[in-house]
Symmetry: C3
């Protein structure tokens, strides 16, 4: 089975990025709902709606959030901070507030970015009633002393947490889940990039016949979305055997992969095999608790191995700020990430364990599959595929999967395609 | 739980060193008995007396030993070697002997120190009837040829092997045993230092409420004491889960730790964790069969992990000689060893395995334990204790102990104190 | 138990080499049969005959092969390629062929050696009906254009695959199998060297009383011989616990050892221990599927650990050519390989697991086995054998074999000979 991404997929992802980027989102609210509806035009997503106030484990689904109007009025009547100029000025889920205060007091409520003087930080207060403003360092420094009017006309109202889901059944009920999150205000790299890669990946997967595994795409708001889904759809996750979390997938940096908690699952090994054999720069990190929704699947109560696939993690300076915009993301990088996902899934699909119907070395030429055409029997065995026939005859024992064998031999798993197909056809091996 | 040693403990150990050092001891005999009585004034030791001749496994408890008078008389009537001048001149448990011989023959019976010309070696012949004298190289060289009278008036008599024991019960019957030996003639570093550290450690431990483990201090003569105790009190050691052997603990050298046979027991790991996170110079050695009474606990029939805690092992030149005196030992070094023992035990007491009462990441702020005061939720997680809350939420699974987790995260176990206390209080976790 | 090879064994091997080298062999045929008969004069081999056409697993025993006459006649009537001048000119099991063709067409049927211009390559076509000629590059270049007559008068006829076997029973039915192959046309290094080392090893082994293991020597044609034996004598291999494949054993290069598939079997460890402690240059390779009959025993259906013992593997340029002659092999190298085999077997025989009849350290002097004569009890323990008494008292636990212990202590297993003998005699230990 070949799972391949093309230039066309790159263009599709870029168009979707451009469509979604201008829309203003939060955990729950109209912009998020509109964004998810837009995605549902691309793929037949099932959309779940979970009401605000629903208990999900020990969490509670928050209210929806919208901003009617929000600004800070200076002593001279100007509005140096204004939501209409930049959506990052109001903290996500900030309480409404109307009041007057001097500059020093105002500054206590303004978050600034620690690294970039002209970036407005992305801040939120989902689970603590509080009001808050963000502004750039430059803006704050230009404020003159005096009395300021703060006008934050936000609304927190009963709404629904929304999750988009697409399930592609395979030959096995064993399922690989691929989540991403849609809740950041704009965030091109974090995390529209993850969303569009996930969407495009499922466009490709749904056209692949004879999928071995089943696949489930999940688009939700970060953390509470994952927790709500797991709490509400426990019967849907009982077949999940692993996953790939797409987070920050669009910048042209090296691949940065975070292993699952277990660290050596078939997903970890497939992703690392893909990286090792396809000439891209990468770094593999051990599991650690910081990160995104891979946390929930790797958590003590599930311990489903979920690998995080990223480009720069959260180490790029524009992370969580108004500067995380379309200039950070390239079509080529999105396509690179998509290709890597395709390769990793292709490897998982190929990573089967076979058992031998032979005791000692099988008589390949008697079965008509001795690869004379590749130079076998000519007195040397330089051809790697010829060697692969021999290697498989020695390794296939019902214990070692093809990826185990490829890893032991330091060969790409692809090399086994022809010998496995031959051996299956003549009945020398069968799937365990 | 904090287990701490103070300057006062250092002074207490030094006073006891000065009291015990002048007393002349052997495996069994009046000096040993008096020394143990002196210890029993400091702590309520139970004293066991096992008669000479008792079979303990395939060993036999030796007789008691004392020296009435012992000297070598030179041809000129002088006594160049005289027990009254130095107790090391007579081998411990030397048979009595009275005779005359020329210098060459005499020299066959005199042990000298191989490294230090003015040191008299400590020699013993507990299990072979034999007479023997020790002297310094300088003394032997100054002997003139001629006939010498040897007068060794020692007595070997029925007595009792004596063991001092202190048991401190804890919440669990699981027991940590801390042995040391008191049998060397004087021996400041080897091994009064081990004895006084053990004594002081139990003064501290008995004042600690809510000990998780039970603790047992054992002071005995080396080898035969350990073997006798194990043979005679098998019901008392059935709960022993590990131990710390105190041997050569008083010189200011680096810590030298010998792992248990198993090498990776909770005791090994606690001691190594203490060393790794508290800035002292140290070296960890793999188990090997040379050493002290850690041998008996690690032996094939018990395989109780016992770690040896030392400063310089037996590699200092004055080892087993008349030069192993109070000048080798410092109050500061004794206190350092005591502090390390306290740290190691503190770590063992903290090294609990908890299981989660949550499935995915728990809602810390809902439980009122989100550490806002440490900067949590301010858009970065630089604080290590804030991070520890997250880490524990990912690691606590009923399988990994706190020391496992600390080791995996390369953090000192202390960092978990506040999050564990919080999580226990609100019922998010419980002890396995 | 000492298993030693002498100069005399070296001479015996060399004589046998010289006898066998001139005889022309193939998988099955008169030269192979005569060679095996010659071996049966040296040792009481049982000779099995398996008829051509017999099904062995999914293989079929080939026909016998002989060459009546074979040459290529040049346009001038000369015979530049002639079987009477060199047996390598005709491929083993080449079909007969009589025909005429021009030089270009002829060259399609001539195999040449890729590295050595004057070597005639050894080629075979056992399982594909085909005719073929080998010649040196120099010969082929000297051929002038024109029409050539090819006259290959070979016969393929019903015969028997022949296997020579010698079984030496030991105290245990557990069996170590030592195969080698006799099928190459001449081949001094590959593989008469392996055959003569195996033969001489069994001359030594049959004179060793009280062998712990049973041993089985097997001489066969490569691959099909091993497969036929395993297929036909399954009851004879059910006790095989490991083996040593002798292949290319006669050149003076370093030892090159290929581990078994399992990689850490008692055979692997014995061979590596022998190499580590006996000062020869060597390299250990991980298992890989290229090689000789170790493949069949390590195969998925058996997974019997078989180590391959070689000098230069197949990396010498003369490999599989007319240049693999007596100049490549030395008596000294053959003897070195034989000695290493003896050492490895000696180690396997010594590698016993004992259990202790003691709980803590045993009282060696009470049992009369304290090695006072080696300086034990003299205040230092520099002697390694004295130390070995202590080490064994700590390690022997019914779990660790002597080779485990030797490996852990980084000592040669020999060092335990005296202490083990002492401890067994006084009943401190017994075999598991």
């Amino acid at each position: 089975m070949k799972i391949t991404a093309t230039q066309e997929n790159g263009q599709g992802m870029w168009r979707l990025m451009e469509t979604l980027f201008p829309m203003y989102r939060s955990l729950i609210g109209p912009g998020y709902a509109a964004s998810l509806s837009r995605l549902a035009q691309e793929l037949p997503l099932e959309v779940h709606e979970i009401p605000s106030g629903t208990k999900v484990f020990d969490w509670t689904v928050p209210k929806g959030f919208k901003v009617n109007e929000a600004y800070v009025e200076a002593p001279d009547g100007s509005r140096p901070i204004d939501f209409t100029k930049n959506h990052y000025h109001v903290w996500s889920h900030s309480s409404p507030f109307f009041g007057e205060m001097n500059l020093e007091e105002l500054k206590q409520h303004i978050a600034v970015h620690h690294l970039l003087p002209d970036a407005i930080p992305y801040r939120f207060t989902y689970y603590r009633e509080k009001w808050g403003i963000s502004a750039s360092q430059e803006q704050v420094e230009s404020l003159k002393s005096g009395n300021y009017k703060v006008h934050i006309d936000t609304e927190l109202f009963d709404d629904f947490l929304r999750i988009g889901e697409l399930y592609l059944p395979g030959k096995s009920e064993k399922e690989i889940v691929i989540p991403s999150y849609l809740c950041h205000p704009h965030g091109a790299n974090d995390n529209l990039s993850g969303v569009v890669v996930g969407m495009e990946l499922f466009k490709i997967l749904q056209s692949i016949p004879d999928r071995r595994y089943s696949y489930r795409l999940l688009i939700w708001p970060e953390t509470i979305g994952a927790i709500s889904y797991i709490a509400q759809f426990q019967e849907r996750i009982k077949n999940v055997v692993g996953g790939l979390m797409l987070s920050i997938c669009g910048d042209p940096g090296r691949f940065e992969i975070k292993k699952s908690f277990c660290g050596d699952s078939f997903v970890d090994r497939a992703v690392i095999h893909a990286l090792q054999h396809y000439g891209r720069e990468y770094k593999v990190f051990n599991y650690e608790q910081s990160g995104s929704d891979e946390r929930q699947f790797n958590a003590p109560g599930l311990r489903v191995p979920m690998v995080r696939m990223s480009r720069s993690f959260s180490t790029y300076p524009e992370y969580h700020s108004s500067k995380d915009d379309l200039t950070l993301v390239t079509e080529e990088a999105l396509l690179g990430t998509l290709e890597l996902c395709c390769r990793a899934i292709e490897i998982m699909e190929q990573d089967v364990t076979y058992k031998p119907n032979f005791v000692v070395e099988p008589f390949l030429s008697g079965h008509g599959i001795y690869p004379y055409d590749l130079g076998a029997g000519e007195g040397h065995r330089s051809d790697r595929i010829v060697q692969a026939y021999y290697d498989l005859a020695g390794w296939i024992d019902g214990q070692h999967s093809l990826l185990d064998i490829a890893t032991a031999l330091d060969e790409p798993i692809d090399i086994f395609e022809r010998p496995i197909s031959d051996m299956l056809r003549v009945g020398l091996i069968e799937e365990v």
